[in-house]
């Protein structure tokens, strides 16, 4: 009963946004993460956005993540590649765009996901691989309603493959997946970085005030607690996305449903 009620509530919540006009009729929105279905939190969106912007800046491939409530009457494939073509995701001439589309299951009882590859990326990210990403990285999470994990791991895999970090073949037969350890490594690096900064500050503080190291440490940490709010500013740094470059889509890609 309780489950039924939550489903009902979810459906109601989604019908609020399902008034979304057909996305294909709209002018391109210059943003790499567009969550029209409202399945990502603000922080999750921001994290994905920063990763995709950084990727676009370094590798120049444009990856658009879009969640929708309505496919404009098309099937998931046609909707996704038409969106990519119309909005011109990818650079002109290079056609190096990817559109990752997710329509959550809560809207009409059928979840749809599709990865459309621009003409220029069909070679590095063939349909069969796109299919694997959908089936292995996305749908298992989506079935548990963990949309963020599915989307982010699909985006991470697509980035790794199209950046040439490893080929599609290596994705199929992974040797030692470094990807799984990445969060750890990031965490450790961040920890070391922050600690060394703090230790350096404390040393300076200690020597300039004639205090012992640990005394200075405890004093400083007490002081930093009062203005810890400013830490939030850390995440807001990062570049911005200038707009899609006019890439073309020829119908490549694969999708799945759950």
């Amino acid at each position: 009963m309780k489950k039924l009620l939550t489903i009902l509530l979810l459906v109601l919540a989604f019908t609020g946004v399902s008034a979304q006009d057909c996305l294909l009729e709209k002018a391109p929105v210059p943003d790499l993460v567009q969550d029209y279905a409202g399945i990502l939190s603000e922080g999750e969106e921001q994290a994905l956005r920063q990763a995709l912007i950084a990727f676009n800046d370094t590798v120049s491939n444009e990856i658009l993540i879009v969640t929708v409530t309505d496919l404009c009457g098309y099937d998931k494939a046609k909707f996704t590649y038409t969106l990519g073509e119309k909005w011109g995701v990818g650079k002109k001439g290079k056609d190096n765009g990817i559109v990752i589309m997710v329509k959550p299951k809560e809207i009409d009882g059928r979840g749809d996901a599709f990865i459309a590859t621009g003409r220029g990326l069909e070679g590095v990210l063939p349909d069969a691989i796109a299919k694997r990403i959908i089936e292995n990285e996305m749908i298992p999470y989506f079935k548990q309603r963990d949309y963020y994990s599915g989307i982010s791991s699909a985006a991470a895999t697509a980035m790794e493959i199209t950046a040439g970090e490893y080929s599609a073949d290596e994705y199929v037969q992974p040797k030692l997946s470094l990807k799984k350890f990445m969060p750890f490594i990031f965490g450790i690096i961040a920890f070391i970085f922050i600690m060394s900064m703090k230790v350096g500050q404390t040393r300076r503080y200690a020597s300039s005030n004639g205090l012992g190291f640990w005394a200075a440490w405890s004093l400083m940490s007490a002081a930093s607690r009062s203005h810890s709010g400013s830490y939030g500013n850390f995440s807001s740094g990062g570049g911005s996305f200038g707009g899609f470059g006019g890439g073309s889509f020829g119908g490549g890609g694969a999708g799945g449903s759950w």
Binding site: K78, P126, D127, A128, K131, F249, G250, G251, G252, A254
Partner: protein
């Protein structure tokens, strides 16, 4: 020659010049669209070819699990052989030629649709990674075919409009471009088989 006459000739000459430029412009657009549609035809053909290239692999995979579906498998191979044997001269793309091409290709679509339906009955086949990937590739080629066909129709449509609307219609009396044929989507005959489970 007095001044009045000079102005008169000047005006007539100017109008004539504008007229000639307009003819040139029209002609160039027509040639361009005509060439583009020929190029696009090549893209259409290669997207169909891509599908034909997948078939032997697909048939072999299915054979391993569903050997006694021989009839369906031969049907697919025959349809493929028939379609690939058709040679269309891109410079003579009339309605009959396109129809012939389309008929042969829809033979493949039909046979593939049947094969996919049959494969439903074999759980082992459906779970086979190779089969799943071929299926994804097949879906992808169907999408590519649709994209290229639509684009072909768009270009041909633009060309036909150019030679049928004024002033192009008048100029075309000089050039003699003929209307180009498009893909007709007949009900059911060339609808891509839905290979979705």
């Amino acid at each position: 020659m007095d001044k009045k006459k000079m102005i008169k000739y000047g005006i007539i000459g100017g109008i004539l010049l504008l007229f000639i430029f307009s003819i040139f412009g029209s002609y160039n657009t027509m040639v361009e669209l005509d060439e583009n549609s020929t190029t696009q035809w090549a893209n259409v053909e290669s997207s169909y070819q891509r599908r034909a290239d997948l078939i032997p692999n697909l048939v072999n995979t299915v054979k391993g699990y569903a050997a006694h579906e021989k009839e369906t498998l031969t049907e697919v191979m025959n349809a493929r052989a028939k379609a690939t044997s058709i040679n269309i001269d891109a410079s003579k793309l009339d309605a009959a030629a396109i129809q012939k091409f389309q008929a042969a290709q829809s033979g493949i679509s039909g046979a593939l649709g049947k094969l996919m339906m049959v494969s439903e009955r074999y759980p082992d086949l459906k779970a086979n990674q190779n089969f799943l990937e071929l299926q994804a590739q097949l879906e992808g080629t169907e999408n590519r075919i649709n994209v290229e066909r639509n684009k072909f129709n768009e270009i041909v449509g633009a060309f036909n409009k150019k030679i049928k609307k004024l002033p192009g219609k008048l100029y075309n009396m000089l050039f003699g471009f003929e209307e180009r044929a498009r893909f007709e989507s007949k009900e059911g005959s060339d609808v891509a088989p839905t290979v979705e489970f």
